[in-house]
Symmetry: C2
Subunit: 270 residues, 2 copies
DNA sequence: GGTGTTGTGTGTTCCAGATTACAGAGCCGG
DNA sequence: CCGGCTCTGTAATCTGGAACACACAACACC
């Protein structure tokens, strides 16, 4: 089941039955219907919080305390982490897998706000009091996520100036990125937007060990969701890019070859 | 001179001569070419910082100190407060007038990010280190603005958890607003976007004393800049709204009559 | 090795909104 | 009160991309 399909279907059902609907999407097992759902497999400490830049200023004691308070949870591919009908006021840390944050219009069409890679921290609704925050989050791969409650965050972070500042900086960057994306959306044709989106994705993506070419693991449909365009239009531009030797394609995987070429196109207006 | 014209012209010149170009735009006097440019007219203390919600948690002493460090400056209508070639890493407080924050594409087209009313605090480039921050700010009325240097902000705010938290919350709200605007841009037709934009503007706008109708002080061109659409298309939808009795128009002024009607349209997809 | 199922390529039709090009209308200062 | 703005209305094209409709290819699971 593709991510967008999931979204549509869930949207239809979301007034009441999202959770159960989501449960049916889980591959073969339904973690949150079991009892002790936190996986205490590995005995390693700091299972979520270490290696996340945001937390480096926490004392070891605080870190340990927080970590105890945030057991990792699994989400199967296609499962919703939160939604309008299941708002969770918490801070999430993505440990494994990939998460798609998106919004849904009245007619069921969706726009992908972001696709998160491991290490990402998300959940601003914690800050804005969730009145206006109608984002959805869905796992697009089997994922592991830690959750910090609002109370924990309050206690450990907001009182800590260093971390509060770091949060402000992160949010500021997010604002800048969104503003840029907004103007791209408004003023740039699809081809240019596609090129610059690919570039942005590229430097989040893992570098291949051989060449310096980077591979982005997305289907055309997922990319279209990010671009605010249809799958067809996106496919067409991608085919064009491939013909020009800028990228190579493979089912659900795009390899960026000519970064400069794409950059040139991304600056194009017409 | 209209705001957009200004933007275009400045864009042409911005590689080197923005400041001088801007100066020529000033109505009849050029404040920043004079010597003592801070206006010490009124003897009132806290000339900028009082009445701004962000600062309520500051001690009177801090407030006074900050206030001394941030003399108000005038900007004539059409003048640039900052731009890419004149990046100012500071926090701004708008005391009087109105400021338009916008971005410019390669071809000179602009998208308005926000139109700020008195009391607004702006200047996130202070947080993001201004690499990626290529916004412009222009006065669209004669305005008075206070500026806090990065050092001052550092000293008084970021060390103060209460204020840091407040900043985070503001940024979080801004993120939510931008995400909403982005999806509107991507998924909604012009009429719906226009309606919802008018509504948003309406509740920032001053209420008239007679009816509960609110007046928005914008030209079609300015509104178009905010919508990411052409002036003509915007005019057409506005004429349509007026014909349906939702709004009334007057040169540079839009009166919202039927809030519910607009809200209905704003939820429309097709 | 079939047989669904999910990703991709393409073509055709259609339309919102950009573009271009004016014309009238309120408002300004001289 | 009159010319020159700046705003607003309207109409005639033009076009990027959406919508719809398939065909086919790769993979996944019997």
């Amino acid at each position: 089941m593709t991510a967008p399909m999931t979204a549509h279907r869930l949207n239809d059902a979301c007034s009441r039955t999202v959770l159960s609907a989501a449960s049916t999407l889980v591959k073969g097992w339904a973690p949150h219907e079991r009892e002790g759902d936190s996986l205490a497999e590995t005995g390693e400490p700091f299972s979520c919080l270490n290696a996340v830049e945001l937390f480096v200023d926490l004392s070891a004691r605080d870190l340990a305390a927080l970590d105890r308070a945030s057991p990792p949870k699994r989400f199967g591919s296609g499962e919703l982490v939160f939604s309008q009908s299941q708002p969770v006021s918490a801070l999430f840390i993505l440990k494994e897998g990939r998460i798609r944050i998106f919004r849904v219009a009245e007619d069921g069409k969706t726009l992908t706000i972001a696709i998160l890679e491991p290490g990402a921290v998300f959940g601003e609704m914690l800050l804005v009091g969730q009145q206006m925050y109608d984002n959805y989050a869905e796992a697009i791969e089997d994922s592991v996520i830690c959750q910090l409650s609002a109370a924990d965050v309050e206690e450990h972070f907001l009182s800590n100036p260093k971390i509060a500042v770091k949060i402000s900086r992160l949010l500021g960057e997010q604002v800048a990125r969104l503003e840029e994306r907004l103007t791209d959306m408004a003023l740039r044709p699809l081809t240019a937007r596609t090129a610059s989106t690919l570039l942005k994705l590229a430097d989040t993506a893992p570098r291949s060990r051989f060449s310096h070419a980077r591979a982005v693991k997305l289907t055309h449909e997922q990319l279209a969701g990010l671009l605010g365009a249809t799958r067809e239009a996106t496919s067409k531009t991608m085919a064009d890019f491939a013909a020009r030797g800028l990228i190579r394609q493979g089912r659900g995987r795009i390899t960026i070859d000519d970064v400069d070429g794409l950059r040139r196109i991304s600056r194009t207006t017409f």
